[in-house]
């Protein structure tokens, strides 16, 4: 185990235990800035943790970031770890991060699907879903990004428990989803909601379940354009951007569609880097470059959220 977050190796993939240990160390090293919240427990009883970055105040407007809802997308959890460290490094040093944190809180859920993530380390590296029981005795798990109450069960999700895009028996049936729903609703002042996936280099905004444009589409499109420009400025990684349904395919029950329908205007989902050769098995050597470039895109969205209060 790394003795501190300074000696933690950000350029390799880590187990759930190691990531949770990293979170504890970060909290211990920055008690005035970082705290750890448990927002629920998984189907298999693991704690679901969120890091809160806050410089004070109560129920400040906040930004939500989650990584790893699809457990096999290891680059996302690894990037989440890097983001957490980056925030603590840049607060008080970088004017943009400092300004954001002086006005808003950031909530970062690094492992959104802990059961699935643990399963990818122990049993099946390519597991995508949760690990909950379904109506099928042969098939386990629900696609947590088809389980949200936004066009739930419509086209773009599967009703077959054996499918990798199985939407579950009802909206929020997955405790991992319900935990976020409860948290966001109870908080009541989340202004940006960003879900991070991999791969295929996309930055998407609502909607996925309907072809109807989001009322804020013009602004979201402009923000996305700025974010991918910033992202590409580091290594030239090219992203496409647009609504989910127009850019990739119809997908119902997704997190950002739910968030947007809750009134969280700045709702985005990233699909992180792939060179076109590795898919979900992105070599660990690409963790840091991926996180670095994604951070620039994230910063653009967070800064826009700060400077465009609503």
């Amino acid at each position: 185990r790394a003795s501190s977050t300074d000696t933690f190796n950000y350029a390799t993939y880590h187990t759930l235990e190691e990531i949770y240990d990293f979170m504890d160390k970060l909290v211990a090293e920055h008690p005035q800035l970082v705290s750890k919240l448990q927002i629920g427990s998984t189907y298999e009883g693991l704690p679901i943790h969120v890091l809160k970055f806050s410089t004070g105040g109560s129920q400040r407007p906040a930004i939500w970031i989650d990584t790893g809802i699809h457990s096999r997308e290891w680059i996302t959890q690894a990037s989440g770890v890097w983001f957490a460290k980056k925030i603590t490094e840049d607060y008080g040093q970088d004017p943009t991060v400092t300004s954001i944190l002086d006005n808003l809180d950031i909530f970062l859920e690094i492992v959104t699907n802990p059961d699935g993530f643990a399963f990818t380390h122990s049993q099946n590296r390519l597991w995508r879903k949760t690990r909950s029981a379904t109506s099928s005795p042969l098939c386990v798990g629900v696609d947590a990004n088809r389980n949200w109450d936004a066009g739930f069960g419509k086209a773009g999700a599967s009703s077959s428990p054996c499918s990798d895009t199985y939407h579950g028996k009802s909206a929020n049936s997955e405790v991992e989803v319900q935990a976020i729903v409860n948290f966001v609703k109870n908080h009541g002042n989340i202004k940006a909601f960003i879900s991070i996936h991999s791969y295929s280099q996309l930055l998407l905004y609502p909607y996925g379940y309907t072809s109807q444009p989001a009322p804020d589409q013009t602004e979201l499109h402009q923000v996305a354009k700025s974010a991918v420009t910033a992202l590409a400025s580091l290594y030239g990684t090219e992203y496409q951007y647009g609504s989910i349904i127009d850019t990739i395919y119809q997908a119902s029950g997704s997190s950002i569609d739910w968030a947007y329908n809750q009134g969280i205007k700045y709702a985005f989902t990233f699909e992180l880097r792939d060179t076109g050769r590795y898919g979900f098995l992105l070599p660990a050597s690409q963790i840091i470059p991926t996180a670095q470039e994604t951070w620039l895109g994230l910063l653009t969205i967070m800064e826009h959220t700060q400077t465009h209060p609503y």
């Binding site: 390799t12 993939y13 590296r125 390519l126 395919y249 050769r277 590795y278 098995l281 070599p283």
Partner: protein, 93 residues
């Protein structure tokens, strides 16, 4: 642990809507146990699919029979996973 020896990831290119539909039909063949990493969407967009060893021949025959071009994106998934594990173990040691 699940073993992925001989599993390949194919990158398929569908040139038109009819070819996209053909790949969608492939997606419905549950007995092949295919894992679509990037599903069929629109012509020109890459489609990535992990094919278990037992289905590799059948899938390639299907693609060739319908004039769908493809390349092998990952030749053996398990090889990559072994490298990943070795790297993690090396870090720990």
């Amino acid at each position: 642990s699940e073993n992925f020896v001989g599993h390949q990831v194919l990158r398929i290119t569908a040139a038109d809507a009819a070819q996209v539909q053909k790949v969608a039909e492939l997606q419905d063949l549950e007995h092949l146990k295919l894992d679509f990493w990037r599903g069929p969407t629109q012509p020109g967009s890459p489609i990535d699919v992990r094919v278990p060893f037992a289905s590799v021949q059948a899938v390639k025959i299907f693609l060739e029979a319908h004039g769908l071009s493809y390349e092998v994106m990952i030749k053996d998934v398990q090889e990559l996973l072994d490298e990943e594990q070795e790297q993690m173990l090396a870090f720990r040691s």
